[in-house]
Symmetry: C2
Subunit: 307 residues, 2 copies
């Protein structure tokens, strides 16, 4: 008698600190998982070798459909991580090809925010939606754009970098070397920069969580910080509707967890800046993904989307 | 013996002044055409009745696959013209349904810039391209966005209004009632507004053609006008790459006909404002459509695209 075997996908999220690996079934249940330290793999080849064995044990008797990887600066078409500033691995790393060879199953790779957008579509609150925008508000601002049920990769595989839309020419210096990028205003980093402008006495160790606590306690500078952040983000999101007119815009990540203290003014500035034909037709809502599982869900969605 | 019959589509472009109708074959040849005055049809129903007969005569012995319509404020999903400010027809006009009923063939409708983008894909220089952006620089700024070989209609059928991206909060008043829309800077209208700011002595009757002639003759204010227009447009186009990373951006319409006097500085500002991963991968080029036929080609493409 043959043991019952479940179809599963492996989702791998590669971050600057941790590598999360999870076994995900068709309903999004994470059947098994493990966490590795990125620093333990100074060469990507050593990760591939190690992972191949670990995945085999993780899968056990189940039927592995494929491996999805979300990574910073991931390029979907080439399946490679390209010049990721937050990783030790330099240059272009063709991780998807290596993993396919090492595991014997199809392996797909995209950037982490794109993967999370797919996760929202398959396992989160974008189920059944054809057109939506997914925004992660963490240290930076990442995004994934879904049009007519498909993630937008663009001509060269790197579409959907809304954090690097220039909203303030000659504004704040961005890590990308240019000035005035959206993520320098609408992210945990941007929030802190705004707070220090409004409250020059603030300690340089202040965290975005503390700014939230102070806003919740009614501190004027903290409240104005959220208002200013919402003003920039609300306008940028209103402008994004003129591109692909999404049904919903999902906000995910640390800053999105601030809830109404951010969401309420964002929605106000969003609606106030919409072209008349767009008004009342796009909702801004928190992500339906569980923060701790989102990266694994997203990466595994690369496989489940095509299964 | 049966006469030889060619498959044809009818393309109809509805403008504020003229209604252009053309019979288009699979290669884009316009076999037959006519022009009607929009003012002759104060009620859209009278146009439908009149067109049904005219189309029948236009088609002659050929095989009519369908009728495509490009119109201001056209909504693809509903096949309707909705609250078009430049037409006498008020409210929502379900023109596609009426035309389908009157002609007995499938009739599809979208906005004029979307139709022209399809025309570029089927009969112009975007043949074989999967991802591109089409921009019309006329009185206003219209746009059509193609992602993975499909025109982007969005959740509600009104995607791709880049002329109404706000580039200058509290900037110039736009016809849409808001301030700082791209088309108030990058269009024939915007060019003239800029020119009058830079040259307050200029007659209020100055045309964009005259500004071009003066720039070509070396007039400082006119040259600065093109530089300023290119600066705003170049940045806006660079930002648009962060959404869908197109292979090419096509510029069409009166202002695009200015050639290098506009294109050269637009390309410079575009490249200077691109995120590093996007540099050198998207070209800005003039449309390959013939101005006089573009609207008919575009409208007919709605049918040929699905044929």
């Amino acid at each position: 008698m043959v043991a019952e075997s479940t179809d599963v996908a492996v989702g791998i999220d590669i971050g600057g600190t941790n590598i999360k690996v999870g076994l995900v079934d068709a309903e999004g249940a994470i059947l098994n998982r493990l966490i590795l330290k990125t620093a333990a793999y100074p060469e990507p080849q050593s990760l591939v070798e190690d992972l191949a064995g670990r995945i085999q044990r993780l899968v056990e008797g189940n039927s592995l459909l494929g491996v999805g990887i979300g990574a910073p600066n991931g390029n979907y078409y080439r399946g490679s991580i390209e010049h990721a500033p937050n990783l030790e691995w330099k240059g272009v790393v063709p991780l998807a090809d290596w993993m396919t060879e090492a595991t014997g199953v199809p392996c797909l790779l995209t950037n982490d925010a794109n993967a999370a957008a797919l996760g929202e579509m398959l396992f989160g609150d974008a189920k059944g939606m054809k057109d939506f925008l997914f925004i992660t508000l963490g240290t930076g601002l990442g995004s994934g754009l879904v049009v007519d049920g498909q993630l937008v990769y663009g001509h060269d595989g790197a579409a959907g970098e809304l954090g690097h839309v220039i909203v303030q020419p000659s504004g704040r210096l961005c890590g990308c070397g240019r000035r005035g990028c959206l993520e320098q205003y609408a992210s945990a980093t941007g929030l802190l920069l705004t707070y220090r402008e409004l409250n020059p006495e603030a300690s340089s160790n202040t965290t975005s969580r503390e700014v939230f606590d102070r806003a919740a306690a009614g501190e004027q500078a903290a409240l104005e910080t959220f208002e200013h952040t919402a003003q920039v983000l609300g306008l940028a999101l209103a402008n994004s509707v003129a591109y692909t007119q999404p049904e919903a815009i999902f906000l995910f990540g640390g800053l999105a967890a601030a809830g109404d203290i951010l969401l309420k003014p964002v929605r106000e500035h969003f609606e106030a800046n919409l072209l008349n034909i767009y008004r009342g037709k796009t909702t801004i809502r928190p992500s339906g993904l569980v923060e701790s599982d989102a990266a694994i869900h997203g990466a595994a969605s690369l496989i489940w989307q095509t299964a």
